[in-house]
């Protein structure tokens, strides 16, 4: 399998990366494989606040659609504008250029409670057992 160890994960297949006190959020390569070719990502306005586990956006693929859930509570400080013209970045580089939003966390302790890559790999194994 091999999911990156520099990010944390949710059970809904988002990842979160802590950098300079901010949390960047995207969806995992597992999620992109399930969704297929992404054609549109609806992202929130900067300044909007979200509670952990609440939907912050929508990802549309050719044959599927899914809500996006905030891994932690916080305020949106940046969104990936590139995705509006090139949504395929989500498939191509889910952990890099395909990121979706950056949050200013309300409480960094929430981040530490997210799944590690080992936890996430175990979760996927259990789901496919």
């Amino acid at each position: 399998m091999g999911y990156p160890s520099d990010v944390r994960y949710t059970r809904e297949h988002e990842w979160a990366r802590m950098e300079n006190g901010l949390i960047t959020v995207g969806i995992t390569s597992y999620a992109t494989e399930q969704l297929g070719d992404v054609v549109f990502v609806e992202l929130p306005a900067i300044g909007k606040k979200f509670e952990a586990a609440k939907p912050f956006g929508v990802v549309e693929a050719v044959k599927t659609v899914s809500d996006l859930y905030a891994p932690i509570s916080g305020e949106v400080v940046a969104v990936n504008e590139e995705l509006s013209s090139n949504p395929a970045l989500v498939n191509q580089e889910p952990y890099g250029e395909g990121w979706m939003i950056r949050l200013k966390p309300r409480d960094t302790a929430e981040f530490n409670q997210l799944l590690t890559n080992r936890d996430y790999e175990k979760l996927l194994e259990e789901q496919h057992a």
């Binding site: 297929g36 070719d37 549109f40 609806e42 549309e60 693929a61 044959k63 949504p87």
Partner: protein, 345 residues
């Protein structure tokens, strides 16, 4: 994907797994939704050819002295003027004119084959059984029928040598029986992609021989397996002049008094995809709901269909689709959405 004892598999299941397809539950079957990528597979069908396993579809065998009369009564389109060797697309209606299902009726010399949507197979069979007279034998042969579709402009070239030469001269919605890869089959020039193509019906025990035969012959011409096709709709298939059929009175009333609602196609201006059941509005007024929507890789924009008040059905009418809090700008578009296909009318 959770494997489940209750889900059915088509005879091509092992091929799908071996190719690494993503398998989803559809209509009670474990079906491949994609092998490589949705857009790549879409483009493959538009430019070359795709191989679809649609064995989940239902097939009914109808035979007996009253078979033509029985089926003519059960469906809205005209079967009597179809010659043997012709397939007819038709809705099947309830007495109130609502649709039970849409289906294909194949007229053979001495019997018929009715092909229905997988999710409706048991329901359609029960429905037909209720109308079936004593002199007609109606049999569900879905489990004894494998069905592959080869669709795309390269299809005739791919099938050359695998099917009799006459098969390549068949017109659209015409079929014959004959060998495919040495296996007895119904060879039908039909399909729902808008591209030239064939649908091939044969016994499941020959599944490997036909799949491998098609793939190895098609390899050179770019044939690839393609995930589950989506479904679309109707309009020119109700023939009032043919005599009585189920739903005729209700449909005739609607025709004479004008329809309150009409099925329209629409294209969206943004990238957000309209989905089933989203409300359709104009100027804040509710007009109807989305029946289906998808992203069209060929048009590179979202498209959808839905029922709206007749006054808002003209091409070009501005619509709004409500997606949660968002309102998506749309415009009624003529159908078919995609007109560049290789299909021969």
């Amino acid at each position: 994907m959770q494997p489940s004892a209750t889900l059915k598999r088509t005879p091509f299941y092992d091929f799908h797994r071996a190719l690494g397809a993503k398998i989803v539950e559809f209509a009670g079957f474990e079906m491949p939704v994609r092998y490589t990528g949705d857009v790549r597979e879409h483009v493959c069908v538009r430019e070359r050819a795709g191989l679809f396993d649609i064995s989940h579809m239902g097939e009914f065998h109808v035979e007996g002295p009253g078979a033509l009369e029985f089926l003519s009564h059960a469906v809205t389109n005209d079967l009597a003027s179809a010659a043997p060797g012709q397939a007819v697309y038709s809705p099947m209606c309830r007495p109130d004119g609502g649709i039970v299902d849409d289906l294909l009726v194949y007229r053979f010399e001495d019997h018929f084959m009715v092909v229905v949507n997988a999710s409706n197979t048991p329901k359609d069979f029960e429905w037909l059984l209720d109308y079936c007279p004593a002199d007609v034998e109606l049999e569900d042969r879905s489990d004894r029928t494998a069905l592959l579709a080869v669709q795309g402009p390269k299809t005739p070239e791919i099938l050359q040598g695998l099917v009799p030469d006459e098969a390549l001269d068949l017109g659209y919605y015409r079929f014959m029986t004959g060998p495919v890869c040495g296996v007895e089959a119904v060879i039908s020039r039909t399909g729902y992609t808008g591209e030239d193509g064939f649908e091939l019906y044969f016994e499941p025990r020959h599944a490997a021989r036909v799949w491998e035969g098609l793939m190895s012959a098609g390899n050179r011409l770019g044939l690839e397996p393609v995930g589950l096709p989506l479904e679309a709709g109707l309009g020119w298939t109700v023939k009032f002049g043919k005599g009585d059929f189920v739903g005729r009175d209700a449909l005739l009333r609607q025709k004479e008094h004008g329809l309150k609602r009409r099925l329209v196609g629409f294209e969206l201006e943004g990238r957000r995809v309209p989905r089933h059941d989203m409300p359709i509005e104009a100027g804040g007024r509710a007009l109807g709901r989305v029946s289906s929507g998808t992203f069209s890789p060929s048009l590179e924009r979202p498209i959808g269909m839905g029922y709206v008040e007749s006054g808002s059905a003209q091409t070009g009418t501005a619509l709004e689709i409500r997606a949660g809090e968002a309102r998506l700008a749309a415009r009624v578009a003529p159908r078919p959405f995609y007109k560049g296909g290789s299909r021969r009318a």
